[in-house]
């Protein structure tokens, strides 16, 4: 009875707090400008099915893809067991679904166990890649401190969770063998794929009292880890397991080379080119004039902000970035991490001090330097590399737009190039009249 009350309180607080954090993240994302990503639902569902559910882009690198798939499938299937845990926890029953499901129950738990082993292997491989093999993309400057701790913590939590599952099932199996399991009155075996072996071999020599305690530690440990994991997610890069789905649904479906045309500029250019237009007759624009390009996160779109929350800091973007490969400061992953960190900073500030709060800081300059912004070749390698369709390039371009159109800050050679286009219709200083000269040259 007391156990059931503790369980239920944990359930309500754990899921409730998670819900509060989800709403907070949603409102943070909605600090961004509007952009329309609701067209072509069929294509969007398909993209989500292939890229998020089917992990299509992960399979560009087969070995990590298979390891990742192990953890992913294990994670999803283990949630089935959670249904029983919640039912047992509230009602005080033990393996409530076993009797009614019979052989199907054995099958489901066996699948969970096999996948848990796969996840265990993958988790150890991932920890080794980060901490022993020290893969280059996990050692970049932006990974120092919390991001590295965060990644390791998530992997360790997964290890603990798998250990809890086998402690629970293994101890219960050992109990069942001697007829002491709460699941049945007489001696027998659950027949689960892995714990049929783990039970007798690891737990077989222990006393019944110890096993009963261990089984409970495994069960409660599993429950605590689920709640801890759930409530750590909103603070972690691991949040990608949820946001990968909406983020791929709202993917950019246009060709990657197509940059947005700024509507505010189109209106002005049309006025300038129309000889009959009366600039004073134009109605004053509604509300505060929008900034050209982006200086801070509120100038970005909600999709840019969702991208930043979806980023799991894998660094495939940075590993494929020509600027980063050749030692420049630019790292597309850092662009995403900076965007997220600045969004959280500003949002927390506004929550504390009211919605008009400004802290005098901005994404550009305080987080991302001009040097990084100008090192980009706009080659789209980062966009192509991202397994969850994040677009760092869109942010970089908007930061450039702010620098050029609002502050006229750019490398001097570019000033010359732009002047040439304006005066000569070419990025070099040639006379427009000479454009056809090549026809008659030898």
């Amino acid at each position: 009875m007391i156990a059931a009350i503790i369980f239920s309180v944990l359930l309500i607080v754990g899921f409730g707090w998670f819900g509060v954090n989800i709403l907070k993240i949603r409102s943070n994302i909605l600090m961004g400008r509007d952009t329309d990503r609701k067209d072509k639902p069929g294509e969007r569902w398909k993209t989500m099915a292939l890229v998020a559910l089917g992990q299509k882009k992960m399979f560009k690198r087969p070995i990590p893809a298979i390891l990742h798939l192990g953890i992913y499938v294990a994670f999803v299937i283990t949630q089935v067991e959670l249904i029983e845990i919640i039912y047992d926890g509230i009602s005080g029953s033990h393996r409530a679904f076993m009797a009614s499901l019979g052989g199907f129950y054995t099958l489901v738990i066996s699948i969970i166990e096999v996948l848990s082993v796969a996840a265990l292997i993958a988790t150890i491989a991932f920890l080794s890649r980060r901490n022993i093999l020290k893969l280059a993309r996990f050692q970049k400057p932006e990974m120092k401190g919390f991001p590295t701790f965060d990644a390791n913590l998530i992997l360790v939590m997964e290890l603990i969770l798998v250990c809890c599952i086998f402690t629970m099932n293994g101890a219960d199996e050992a109990l069942y063998l001697r007829g002491a399991s709460h699941a049945a009155h007489e001696a027998g075996t659950f027949g689960f794929a892995i714990s049929s072996w783990v039970g007798p071999h690891i737990f077989g020599g222990m006393s019944t009292e110890t096993l009963l305690v261990l089984e409970r530690i495994g069960w409660w440990g599993h429950w605590f880890m689920v709640l801890a994991f759930l409530n750590y997610l909103p603070y972690s890069k691991h949040f990608h397991i949820l946001l990968a789905f909406p983020n791929t649904y709202y993917s950019n479906l246009e060709k990657k080379g197509k940059f947005t045309n700024m509507e505010a500029v189109t209106n002005e250019v049309k006025l300038m080119l129309d000889p009959t237009a009366d600039p004073f007759a134009a109605p004053a624009p509604e509300g505060a004039p929008q900034r050209f390009g982006a200086k801070d996160i509120t100038d970005l779109t909600w999709k840019n902000l969702m991208d930043s929350y979806t980023c799991t800091e894998c660094g495939r973007c940075t590993a494929s970035c020509p600027a980063n490969i050749t030692g420049k400061k630019l790292s597309p992953r850092k662009i995403m991490m900076d965007t997220r960190d600045r969004m959280v900073e500003l949002a927390d500030g506004k929550r504390k001090n009211g919605k008009d709060y400004e802290d005098g800081k901005s994404l550009l300059f305080d987080y991302i330097s001009e040097e990084e912004v100008w090192a980009c070749t706009s080659c789209n390698a980062c966009v192509e590399a991202c397994p969850v369709n994040i677009d760092p390039l869109a942010i970089i371009v908007d930061l450039r737009r702010y620098l050029v159109m609002e502050e006229s800050k750019m490398p001097t050679e570019l000033t010359g190039m732009l002047t040439n286009i304006e005066n000569n219709g070419a990025p070099w200083q040639f006379s427009p009249a000479d454009r056809g000269n090549w026809i008659h040259e030898d």
Partner: protein, 263 residues
């Protein structure tokens, strides 16, 4: 080498003619000495196939691509609007260009501003000409049996998903097409895109074109083929950096085809 025939839109208009396709030459193809050779190679192919085409000549202007990538949307849209006025004035329906930057801008960014055309890259047009039997290659000529690697221009490949047309053309040369370790959607940029062509690179430990040239050298190819005048410049400089300019040629796919067809 035969003389080339290049009618301008103004001339065609004066004679009451309309071309089937407009050849958008681009700034590089018009002014850069190396790129002009690519322009002329394409013209020779068009002349050989009796394609009814025209150029804008002095009426053409920068598409605005470098301005847009550099963040100056005003300059881009001014250029775009002026070009669209000219193109729509001549009732242009179809455009071919040998520059992936012009290709991308005309194809993807002009429609919303009122410029809707069918835009193709020159490698796609040449492929069409060969497929329809208008252009025939008698084997690969000088390129037969040579190792050729193709460097994917970002604005043709990743930006617009055109990977096959240039490769199909290289295979028509009876040459051995060898891929770099980073190719197609994983291709490495030459370092020129995003207006980098017009500025010094930021501080780093290497130039991007040198990194990319290493990929090409690794394939042991004797020819680096490109489909972009800017990639051509960057790869040519990269080859010079390794003092290999006597062993390795950097050529546009149009030049390969024109040479093989002895045009």
């Amino acid at each position: 080498m035969s003389t080339i025939h290049v009618p301008t839109m103004a001339e065609m208009m004066a004679q009451g003619q309309t071309p089937d396709i407009l050849f958008w030459v681009g700034c590089s193809g018009s002014f850069d000495d190396r790129a002009k050779k690519i322009t002329k190679a394409l013209v020779r192919i068009l002349n050989e196939c009796k394609v009814n085409f025209a150029v804008l000549g002095a009426e053409e202007s920068c598409t605005g691509d470098p301005a847009k990538r550099a963040g100056n949307e005003f300059t881009f849209q001014m250029q775009a609007m002026m070009n669209i006025q000219v193109l729509n004035g001549y009732e242009i329906k179809k455009i071919v260009t040998a520059c992936p930057h012009c290709f991308n801008t005309l194809k993807n960014e002009y429609p919303e501003l009122g410029g809707k055309y069918e835009v193709i890259h020159h490698t796609q047009l040449i492929q069409e000409l060969i497929n329809s039997g208008k252009l025939s290659l008698k084997g690969g000529g000088v390129f037969k049996g040579k190792k050729i690697t193709f460097h994917d221009p970002c604005y043709l490949g990743r930006a617009n998903d055109v990977y096959e047309a240039p490769r199909i053309l290289i295979e028509k040369l009876d040459a051995e097409l060898v891929e770099m370790k980073r190719c197609k959607s994983n291709g490495l940029c030459c370092g020129a895109g995003g207006a980098q062509m017009f500025k010094e690179a930021e501080k780093g430990n290497k130039e991007v074109n040198v990194e990319r040239t290493e990929d090409a050298l690794e394939t042991q190819a004797s020819i680096i083929a490109t489909g972009c005048p800017f990639c051509n410049t960057m790869m040519t400089d990269g080859v010079k950096n390794f003092n290999k300019e006597n062993e390795i040629q950097v050529l546009d796919v149009a030049e390969l085809i024109a040479n093989a067809a002895e045009l």
